[in-house]
Structure formats: C-alpha cells, structure tokens
Amino acid sequence: MSAYRITGETGEWEVIVGLEVHAQIVSQSKLFSGASAEYGGEPNTHVSLVDAGFPGMLPVLNRECVAQAVRTGLGLRAQINLFSRFDRKNYFYADLPTGYQISQFEHPIVGKGTVEIELSDGEIRHIGVTRMHMEQDAGKSIHDQDPTRSFIDLNRAGVALMEIVSEPDIRSPEEAGAYLRKLRQILRYLGTCDGNMEEGSMRADVNVSVRREGEEGYRTRCEIKNVNSVRFVMQAIEVEAQRQVDIWESGGEIDQETRLFDHVKSETRSLRTKEDAHDYRYFPEPDLLPLVIEQSWVDELKAALPELPEDKRARLEKEYGVSRYESGVLTAEQSVADFYETVARGADARLATNWILGDFFAALNRTGRSIEDSPVSAEALRELLSLISDSTINGKIAKEVFEDMVETGEKPSVIVDRKGLRQVTDTGAIEAAISDILAANADKVEEYRSGKDKLFGFFVGQTMKAMKGKANPAMVNELLKRLLAS
C-alpha cells in the first residue's frame, strides 16, 4: 500500500503517531475502595470516604482489577511483570480529592507487547505496546450549572483504569483507527473493558509529530488529550499533522505542548498551561505495598483466557473454510463468532456462512436488533439449515420460513408444518406435474428439442409454480431432462 504522506510546499511529510489509551477496567468496585464502579448513578453516591480523600482513609487494592490487567497484558501478548508498584502523581485539581493520583509510574504491571492490525488493503502491521499500567480515574467537574461555580461529582473518582501506551509505530490516521478498533476488540473479547467510548470507558491521548520523508529521528511532538472516538482520533491526527507541516514549512518551530481537538471546527488548539505548570513529584505510594504476583496465578489466568480474535479468526478459516474476509466479519465481535459457531457446528458450514452474512445480518439490520437480542436464535437458524440439508425444504422456501421466524419467533419446523411447506420428493407427483406442463406447452417442447436449450429454465419455473415451490429442485431438474429427452 502506498504510504500515507502529507504533501507540503517543499515536499512529502510522514506522520508519526503514538497513542496512550485509557481504558476503564470492568469490575464491580473501584481500584482502591469498595464503592461501586458502575457508570452513572446519582451524583456522589458511588463514592466512599476513601474516594473523597477523607483524613485517615487508606487504599486497599482490588484483586479483580489486577487480574483484569494481567488478562489484558496476556491479550496484548505482553510481558507480565510479577513485581509492580504504585506511585503517587501529585497535582492539585478540583476533581482529584487527595491531591494525588495513584498510578503505576516506574514499575508498570505490563511491559512490552504488540497489537496486530489489518489495513483496508489487507496489509498486516504490528504496532508495539510500550507498557500498560493501572491507575485511578478522577472525578468530574460540571461547569454549566452555575454562573460562578463548578460542581464536583466524585462518582468516577477512583474507578480503575488501564493506560495502554503504544510505541510511536503508527504512520497514518487509518493505522491509528485500526489500532484503536483492534485494541477495543481485544479488550472486549477479554471482558476487561467494555470499550464504550461514548461513556468514556475508552479514550485516547494522541501524540503526533511529523518528519520529512526519509528523515531519521523524531521532531517535537504534541499531545492531543482525551479524544473520545475512533473517528475523532483519525481526524485529529490529520489536522494536527497538517498544522505541524504548515508550521515547519513556514520556518516555524513546534512547541511540545498539550492540545485539544475541536471536532466542530476540525482543529486542534493549545491547552495553555501556566509557567512551571507540572511537576508531578512521583514517589512510591507509601499506603500500599509493592504488588507482587505469582507466576502460577498468571498461568491460571492465562489458561482461562478466552480465545483471542486473531486465534479465533485463524481457527474459523481452518475449521469452517471461511475466507479471510469472512472470518474478519465473523470475529469482529465475540458474540457474532459465538453465534456463528453455534450455527455452523454440525451444519453445512458454507451454508451457515452464507446465511449469517446474508439473510441473517440483513434481518438484524432491518429490525434494528443486535445479535444479543436477535429475533432468531442460533439454534433455530441451525435447525432451519438442517431442514435445507436434509431436503425437508428447499432454499427458496427456507427464505420464506426465515422471514416468518423473524416475525413470529417460531421454530422453523413449526412454521414448515403450519404452512405445509415440506418439499415434495414424490417422483410420481412431480412427473404428473411435468407431464401436464409439457402437454400444455407442446410448441415450447418442440423448440427446446430443436436446440433452444435456454427454455429449460422456463420448464423448471413452470413446474415449481405448479408444485407451489415445494418440489425438490434437483428432482425437478432430473425428471425434466429425462421427460424432455424422450
């Protein structure tokens, strides 16, 4: 594929992108307190005195959050650090009750890993993961309720996050999008993050720099904070890279700074920070011990890990003979893959693939339902396919039955019986129908016999019509050939 380049006045520029993705860990309670981690809730109800930073309150680490971080690390095929540690990141802000965030700065729980992405032309690229660590989320400041005051809701304060830091390996908006979607897919497969960007359970800080084609090393980068959709990340990279190219080409310099992406104006702008703004004064969190985990526990978690998207894809291709494209669609969500396998296992796999990617998806789209609340269960669909395979019904009737299933939710066999759609395989009945048709269309029979082969389709159609669509198509073909030849 041709590389992504920005064409400036003076030549071609390459884009260098690294992403820091904050993903909320799926857990019942917060990272260091027993308050609910659930999204939403009345203001300041999912808050304990620990989260509100009351004097003398102490953090106690949530085992499941650690397990989730380990699972995620394993899913990223990354190094799991048996020794990790929490540090305090000190800064004052209204939504940070203790005046410090507890985060793993120096010793993260997960080290180097990789994420494999596939681009639209099928090219595979590997994006390095530098590290992943656990940290606390902050609360929320609400600015639009009062003319002079901001209101503080601490429901989010202390919720567990994973920060997944990529290497600066990303070279285009498309790659950034593919990386984010892939990461999201892996996290959802693992059940470690729900990937819901609207609710903020995944958001990205985007580091962007540019360099001339062929140039070595990196130029100054800017960090675009808190971008909350894949599309915006891609747009932000595009406009930020262009901005930087314009500055470099006009002889300017890029300041290393934090910027915000405004998707309405489609521009990034500087988050002006005060002089000597940040000095986080990291130091080991003295209220917690270093986190030491056992290899045996990691092994246990690994053994219980669900199949990852890449593995599942390869397996589907092998076991069910689906194409690379089809396996991609079928594994996009774990629920789709599960549905597919329930149908395809023990059925005609090709038939299952075609039906799911065709009529089934179309029905979901049409009814606006998701696979989780599909009007047709995987078991029902499998039964339908087996009715086709064992010649109880033919493919055309199957479509009619399927539409009925979508509408009524009834089992296919029930519908077939109710409507009397069982396929006719009685040679005598089909022969009788054919004889009638041949007699009524003697002229066409003559034409056919004198070489107009195309008329065969006409006879098939007439026969099926006479049989109300229920005749076995193969038998119709065979009998027609024989009778027309005689």
Binding site: S29, T45, S141, S150, F151, L154
Partner: protein
Amino acid sequence: MSLDAKTVAKMARLARVGLSDEQVHTYQKEMQGIIGWVDQLNEVDVTDVPPMIGTGLAQPRLRDDQVTDGNCRDEVLSNAPDREGPFYTVPKVVE
C-alpha cells in the same frame, strides 16, 4: 545545593501554600539551612543499596471485588464548606 528564593516561590506554588514575598524570604533562609544539613547524606555510600519501600513485614494483600462501600452521600458531603445539592463546589473552572 543552593535553594534560592525563586525555587522556594515555585515550591510554594506547586504546594499551593500561598506565601507572601516576605515569607518566601524567611523560608528560603530556613530551608537553605535544612537542606545544607541533610546534604550530609551524600557521605553515605549507597551503591547497590535498594531503596526501602515498605518495611517488608506485611504480606501483599488484595481485596475481593465486591461493592462494600459508597452510597453514603450524606457522610461524603457532611463536612463540605460549600455544597450545592448533591455536589461539592469550587470557583468556576474555565478550561
């Protein structure tokens, strides 16, 4: 190491303790003295000595993932100097 007034003022801003210029001056002298005194630690050979992190006595302990706390808004807000309905308040933050 020398600790000048500018550094003290910077620390005061980082720590949000709001010092007047005069106080900066006073603290600078005292802090300079204390830092001069702690600089004797440079005499200690700490080659290959790991930093002490925790006393190494307690066993690492992890909590079960259960909701056991929260839902105590009245307590959470009980001491708030300025509260508005279910919220804490601060002067408007402009981003």
